[in-house]
């Protein structure tokens, strides 16, 4: 393909991304060095937004909570996704129905799923889960006002929402594993567990890495589901970074755009650090091809 053709085909898409992603991003970076309100030009105040953000213990709590969520959810999703996908791969006629039913959690708008999820746990709304736990153990768990129960509920919801995607991707990967490989392992006398550990998992390493990457990206951005699931997020220490940004930069009464932007930039840096291994891998690949 000639350079000119490449530019013509790529151009419109690049223009849209330049205008609607890069320009706003530059604006965010600019705001992060300013004292600014919506609709008026800001005053340059150097690094003081960053200083203020870094000295606020709320940021540390939000980072801790977000990272905790990311690690637990990603690990859980990889393991559960693999187990379910393996079972799904062996299913016959039932597969489309079960797969379709499991995908519902993923295709539902996140916020809608979170609302439904909160109803299962909220005693004020008849909470089925509460009722069952109370009947079994006599305990009444405060899912919305206590830190750890709330964390467990948020983790459960995030896993619930993202599991279908990882299961789907891993299933797609499993279908790409050549039959001969499994047969060879069987002939060599490998047990089921060993076949998985030494044959199948290494073969679909790429898929697992991709699932890991997408999950990390999505969990680091957690925002929507906390609105119904953790209405007192800040008070109980379960505020995500994005919720913190929203609260600072947008919610009525505060609108500290500069401070919010600074937190945003810090979040971008954190995300880039988390993605660094993947980015390095891709760059290596690109170098090999070039």
């Amino acid at each position: 393909m000639r350079r000119r053709e490449f530019a013509l085909l790529m151009g419109p898409s690049l223009l849209v991304m330049l205008g609607l992603l890069v320009v706003p991003l530059v604006r965010t970076i600019q705001w992060s060095f300013q004292k600014v309100e919506y609709g008026s030009p800001g005053d340059f105040i150097g690094l003081s937004n960053y200083a203020q953000a870094m000295s606020d213990p709320r940021l540390g709590r939000a980072v801790f909570f977000t990272l905790l969520l990311t690690v637990i959810v990603t690990a859980t999703i990889l393991v559960l996704g693999y187990l379910i996908a393996t079972g799904m791969n062996g299913l016959g006629k039932l597969r489309p129905y079960i797969l379709g039913a499991m995908l519902v959690a993923y295709v539902l708008p996140n916020i809608v799923g979170a609302v439904s999820f909160s109803w299962l746990f909220d005693q004020n709304f008849g909470g089925a889960v509460n009722y069952v736990i109370q009947a079994l153990t006599g305990q009444n768990i405060l899912w919305f006002t206590e830190t750890w129960p709330n964390r467990i509920m948020v983790i459960a919801h995030t896993v619930w929402h993202l599991l279908p995607f990882s299961m789907l991707m891993i299933l797609a990967g499993l279908q790409g594993v050549p039959k001969e490989l499994r047969e060879a392992a069987l002939i060599d006398g490998a047990s089921g567990r060993k076949t998985h550990l030494y044959v199948i998992i290494p073969t679909i390493r790429g898929v697992l890495g991709f699932v890991c990457l997408i999950t990390i990206m999505d969990v680091l951005r957690t925002f929507d589901n906390l609105i119904p699931l953790s209405p007192q997020a800040d008070a109980i220490g379960n505020e995500s970074i994005m919720l913190y940004v929203f609260d600072t930069a947008f919610r009525d009464g505060s609108a500290q755009l500069g401070l919010g932007s600074a937190i945003n930039v810090l979040a971008i840096l954190l995300i880039l650090v988390c993605l660094f291994p993947f980015i390095r891998g891709l760059l290596k690949e690109a170098k090999a091809k070039a």
């Binding site: 393909m1 000639r2 053709e5 490449f6 085909l9 790529m10 419109p12 898409s13 991304m17 609607l20 992603l21 320009v23 706003p24 604006r27 965010t28 919506y38 379910i84 079972g87 799904m88 039932l94 489309p96 079960i98 039913a101 499991m102 995908l103 519902v104 959690a105 295709v107 539902l108 996140n110 609302v115 439904s116 109803w119 005693q123 004020n124 709304f125 008849g126 089925a128 619930w160 279908p164 991707m169 797609a172 990967g173 279908q175 790409g176 991709f210 990206m217 925002f223 994005m242 947008f250 919010g260 932007s261 971008i268 995300i271 993605l275 980015i279 891709l282 760059l283 690109a286 070039a290």
Partner: protein, 294 residues
């Protein structure tokens, strides 16, 4: 010792039969487990469906009332009559359809170009797409809020659709590129030898071959736009509000309004469930051909 060595092969000769039986028992167990998992995965949805078809006075009773009430669709009726739900639903659909079409029209040529132009430029662009996909939404959406206000397009479906095209563009390009990469380059060359221009090759040869890939990418982009909460929350106010935003504004209000929110959630979900059942085949096939082999 000798007995052992004789026994071992003898045992393994007999083995296949019980092994086959054990296997089918195992697969039956795994089928049951999977059905259970699917039910658990559907539980929030089932619970909401139950809650919104109960009369308001028993819907949120504790302990939950499971029998002995007359199911009612009053919440749906109220939703339709007392709120602008129809308008919000239309907004959501318009935004999703519009942004899907634009994303594909822009994304297909770009993805094609990326799959056929080897070297650093394409690699860097793909890497940037990845970085852009991982950006926190707020870092682009808050400036968009200001820009759309100053341009006078704040709270229009057009502005929201445009924002979603941009936000989802990295993903759609990435996905589509991997589909294109699966099509051998020799096909392009053959078409061009036969006199097609590059554009003609894309239109006449590639797009027909890419149909399943385009379908898969289209479903994803449509779903993302349909689901989007945060961008819609920031970029809309009243006239172009979407259903997810409407649902959250109903929370924390009165119980009947809460039931209406649940009813809205059901109405938004049912078409999406239909899509997921119809499309699951394409999603699996699409993903195994597509994004995986990036």
């Amino acid at each position: 010792m000798i007995a052992d060595t004789i026994k071992a092969p003898a045992g393994s000769v007999i083995k296949p039969a019980p092994r086959a039986r054990r296997r089918s028992a195992a697969s039956r167990i795994s089928a049951v487990l999977l059905i259970l998992t699917a039910v658990v995965m559907l539980a929030p949805f089932i619970w909401t469906a139950l809650s919104v078809t109960k009369p308001t006075d028993v819907a949120f009773a504790n302990p939950p009332v499971l029998t002995g009430y007359t199911p009612t669709l009053k919440a749906f009726q109220d939703l339709w009559e007392t709120t602008y739900f129809a308008q919000y639903l239309i907004n959501t659909l318009v935004v999703a359809v519009l942004s899907t079409i634009v994303a594909l029209v822009l994304g297909i040529p770009a993805a094609y170009a990326l799959s056929r132009f080897p070297g650093y430029v394409s690699a860097i662009l793909l890497l940037l797409a990845l970085v852009f996909r991982s950006l926190p939404r707020f870092s682009v959406v808050l400036p968009m809020y200001e820009i759309s206000k100053s341009l006078g397009i704040y709270d229009t479906t057009f502005a929201l659709a445009a924002a979603l095209v941009a936000i989802n563009q990295p993903f759609s390009i990435w996905l589509l590129r991997n589909f294109f990469a699966e099509i051998p380059k020799e096909l392009d060359e053959a078409a061009m030898i036969d006199g097609c221009t590059r554009w003609g090759t894309l239109r006449r040869v590639m797009i027909p071959l890419m149909r399943p890939g385009i379908f898969t990418a289209g479903i994803f982009v449509f779903l993302f736009a349909f689901q989007e909460y945060l961008t819609a929350l920031v970029l809309t106010d009243t006239s172009s509000k979407t259903v997810p935003v409407f649902i959250t504004t109903q929370l924390g209000q009165t119980l009947p309004m809460l039931q209406q929110a649940g009813a809205a959630a059901m109405l938004l979900t049912l078409p999406v469930i239909a899509i997921s059942f119809v499309a699951q085949k394409y999603l699996v096939a699409g993903l195994s051909d597509g994004s995986v082999k990036g």
